[in-house]
Amino acid sequence: MKGKVSKMRSLAGLQAIPESIGKAAETNRPVHYTPGTVGFSGGVVGYAAQTFAGLSVLSHVSKLTAKYKVPLYVTVAYGELIPVVESVVRESYASEGRADAVSTETHVLYFPIALSNAPYASGVLGLFERIKPASNIMIGGFYFEALAISEQGFVQGAIQIAGTAMTHQIAFFVAACDYTLIGEEIFVAGAIVSQDATLLGSITGQDLLKIIVIAMLVGGFILQNLGVDFLSIMKV
């Protein structure tokens, strides 16, 4: 295992990203990207992981938009994300030799989340009416604005690729988007596009842990039905 990176299965949503950006280039319309509306804070570590995954995929998307010379709009919901997003976009464009295009072809827009996500949702809806994106990519943690933005993206005729690990919103993405990354697939997507050995290794580690948990579930089910009080053994 040491020194080896496991093979990750292909993700339809990830493979559709170049296609959607190609459509944007052909139709001369921009790409919209959002790394989610959960930010880094909020006291929920698991949700920050979704933002990190979103930022990894943003790096990949912005390299493609730099390569195909497509305008990129990135909307963020938290102020602390602005410098990080700008840095990611700048690095991606610089890696494609188009650092000078950052100020003209990329736009980082901040629609703040206040008491609720309604300001962000209405900001993005209005933006879609103005820019009419050909591609709408949403990877990260979302709340109710997920469906509103997806539906507006459909109205604008955008190819929509979405991914989230927020349980309440996956159903809406599946219903409204063309491609959906469900749950942990966004972490795998982030790992695949970044090709970071630590991330890829930890995905493998997670799968090993899942196998252990499944074994405990099956074993516990059998033992419990044989009269062994497995549950009380598990209680700490």
Binding site: F40, S41, G42, G43, V45, G46, A48, A49, T51, F52, L55, S56, S59, Y78, G79, E80, I82, P83, V84, S87, V88, E91, Y110, P112, I113, L115, S116, A118, A121, S122, F144, L147, A148, S150, E151, F154, A165, T167, F172, V174, A175, A176, G183, E184, F187, S194, D196, T198, L199, S202, I203, G205, Q206, L209, K210, V213, V236
Partner: protein
């Protein structure tokens, strides 16, 4: 201490130490015997820092819109004026008396804010109807199962389902408890494992995003 240590290594050390202390405190019985007031104080520190993050958000918002105002960004600057005026008004009435208790503050909250928020929220009802019309097309066996399950769960939830046929709530409840419960159980376990993996990467300093690097 060198600058690279302060920027790169010291944050990781702080995260690691505080993280390990909090984990120990969560899992052992009577942690105050070993850790005294440390756990309570760390929780309070985290709450205070989160409060400052809120202030940071407001300041960022103000900076972005003051820039629009100063540059007279076409089609934007008047909305920035409106936004800044409303933010200042809300902060102003909130500061009258005990924070956020004045009747004017409650008026601002209860009438414009609640109405606007619920408007955006209620738009979802229309969006889900049009999304359902599009998405629940029976193009495959899975599509058929999806559509049938959706119909049964909707009719379980709405009183009209029980009025039409007693089987709708029963079957809908079974769908919620068994297939849905099983799927979400797996999902919750998987997400929790993902969160554990990410937390471990944060604690050992291998998560680049946490320090603003990608």
């Amino acid at each position: 201490m060198s600058l690279p240590f302060l920027k790169r290594d010291l944050p990781v050390v702080i995260v690691c130490v505080t993280g390990v202390v909090m984990i120990i405190g969560y899992f052992i019985q009577a942690p105050e015997i070993y850790l005294g007031d440390i756990l309570g104080n760390l929780s309070l520190i985290a709450s205070v820092i989160a409060g400052y993050a809120t202030i940071l958000g407001i300041l960022t918002l103000a900076i972005v819109h003051v820039k629009h105002l100063s540059k007279r960004t076409q089609g934007q600057w008047m909305y920035s004026v409106l936004l800044l005026a409303l933010v200042l008004a809300m902060i102003g009435v909130g500061l009258i008396g005990t924070l956020g208790t004045h009747p004017y503050f409650m008026w601002f909250y209860q009438y414009p804010l609640v109405a606007l928020d619920t408007t955006i929220y209620s738009v979802l009802a229309f969006y889900i109807a049009s999304a359902a019309f599009r998405a629940f097309k029976i193009k495959s066996v899975e599509g058929l199962i999806l559509a049938v399950a959706a119909v049964f769960v909707m009719l379980m939830n709405a009183p009209v389902g029980a009025a039409l046929w007693g089987g709708f709530p029963l079957i809908g409840r079974w769908i919620m408890d068994v297939p849905n419960g099983a799927a979400f159980r797996g999902f919750i376990i998987g997400s929790a494992i993902g969160a554990i993996a990410m937390s471990l990467r944060v604690l050992i300093g291998r998560e680049r995003g946490i320090l603003g690097r990608t």
